[in-house]
Symmetry: C2
Subunit: 218 residues, 2 copies
C-alpha cells in the first residue's frame, strides 16, 4: 500500500502533516512525499523548508493520493501546474484520491470534481464551483473514490476516516489514540456557522487580501 502526499511550493503545512501523521502510523503502508522536482520546497510561510526525495514521475501509481491546499492552488489549478497533471494521470489507478483544504481546486482542475459534491476551505467555495463541483459544508465529503476535506486541520479527520475505510475501525482508533486526538479547542469558533460574525468577516477579508498578495494583483 503506497500513500502519496503530493506537494508544491506554497503548500499549507498542517494540510499535509495532519494526514502524514496519521498515515505514517500504519504498520504496512509506505508513505511518500513527492513534488515536481527533488530538492528544497518551502511552505506558504517560507519558514518550513523540506528536502523532497521523490518526483511525481517516480510516484506514478499510488494506492492513495492526497494533496494539501494553500493560497497558491488557485493559480496552480488555473495554470495547469505539474501537480494537476500528476493527479489526472494517477487518479484512474488509485483506490482513493483525496484533498485537504484548497487542494480540492487541484482535483477540480484535473477534472475529478465535475458534477460531484465536494468541500474545501470555507473561503474557497465559489472558486470550487468553477470546476463543476457542488460546494458542501461538511468536514469530509466522500463521493466514491474522491474524498475532499474542509480547511487545514480537517485533513486529520479525513485521514482517520480513510484509514477506517481501508484498514477497519480498530486500526483507526489505535492511531487516534496514539496521536491522542481528543480535541479540546478553547473556543467553538472553528466553522463560519459557529464563530462570531465579526470574526468571520475578519478572516474572510484577510483571506481575500492574502489571496490577492499570493496571486500578485491578478
Amino acid at each position: 500500500m503506497q500513500i502519496a502526499i503530493g506537494l508544491f511550493p506554497g503548500f499549507t503545512a498542517l494540510d499535509a502533516i495532519g494526514p502524514y501523521q496519521v498515515f505514517t502510523q500504519l504498520p504496512d503502508a509506505a508513505v511518500v512525499l513527492c513534488a515536481s522536482k527533488k530538492g528544497e520546497l518551502a511552505d506558504d510561510n517560507g519558514l518550513l523548508r523540506l528536502n523532497i526525495a521523490h518526483t511525481f514521475e517516480e510516484v506514478d501509481a499510488p494506492d492513495i493520493l492526497v494533496v494539501p491546499g494553500g493560497f497558491i492552488t488557485r493559480r496552480l489549478a488555473r495554470d495547469g501546474d505539474p501537480i494537476v497533471d500528476w493527479v489526472r494521470a494517477a487518479h484512474p489507478g488509485t483506490t482513493f484520491t483525496a484533498s485537504v483544504c484548497t487542494g480540492a481546486l487541484l482535483l477540480g482542475a484535473a477534472g475529478l470534481l465535475d458534477g460531484l459534491d465536494a468541500t474545501t476551505h470555507w473561503c474557497a467555495y465559489e472558486e470550487l464551483a468553477r470546476y463543476g463541483a457542488t460546494p458542501t459544508e461538511e468536514r469530509v465529503v466522500r463521493r466514491g473514490r474522491v474524498w475532499t476535506a474542509a480547511g487545514v486541520s480537517a485533513g486529520i479527520d479525513l485521514a482517520l476516516t480513510l484509514v477506517a475505510e481501508t484498514y477497519g475501525d480498530a486500526i483507526a482508533q489505535a492511531i487516534q489514540l496514539g496521536i491522542e486526538y481528543d480535541p479540546q479547542p478553547p473556543f467553538d469558533a472553528g466553522a463560519p456557522s459557529k464563530a462570531p460574525a465579526e470574526i468571520v468577516e475578519l478572516v474572510r477579508s484577510r483571506s481575500a487580501a492574502r489571496e490577492a498578495e499570493v496571486l500578485g494583483g491578478e
Copy 2:
C-alpha cells in the same frame, strides 16, 4: 514577539507543525524553527526532512519557546542533549515555555517541572514523574509560565490557548476559524479513558516496543 520551536532529529512532525500552523497566522509574531545545528534534520519517520536555518545559539531569547516530543526525547532528556541546555538557558527570559507530547521530558530534564503538575503523552506519565512532575490527565496544563500539552495533536489546543492568553480571544478565534479547526474525529477514541480497553493495550504495547527500538535495547 519571537516564537521559537526547538527541534531535534527524531521529533514527531505533528507535535511541532500543529503549533507552527497556529503561530504563523499571528500578524506580528516571528516564528523560528531552530535546532542544535543548521542543515538537514529528519523526523521520527525519517521521511519528513527539514532544512534548518537557525541554531539554538542564534535564538537565545525567544518570548515563547515550544518543544515537540518524539520517542527519542527519553534519551535526549536522560543524556542532556543540547536542546535541554537551550531550554534551561532560555527559560528565565521567556514569557511562556511550553511542550507538546513527550517534549515535556525535555522541560523536565531542564529542571522546569520539579514540583509542578504537568502532562505529556499518556504512555509517558511514569517517565515524566522521574523529573519531579505530577502527571496530570488534562489536555493542556498551565502552571505559571510553564505549559505542557498531551500527546501529538494536543499542540493545536495548546497553541490556540497560548494565543488567547497573549493576544486575546478574538485573535485566537480568528486563527481557529482560519485553520477551520472544528474537529470531528470519526471515533471518540482519542484518550485512554475513552478508547476500548483492547485498543489501549494495543497502543501501549506498540509504544513500548517502539520506545525500546528507538532507545536501542537499553
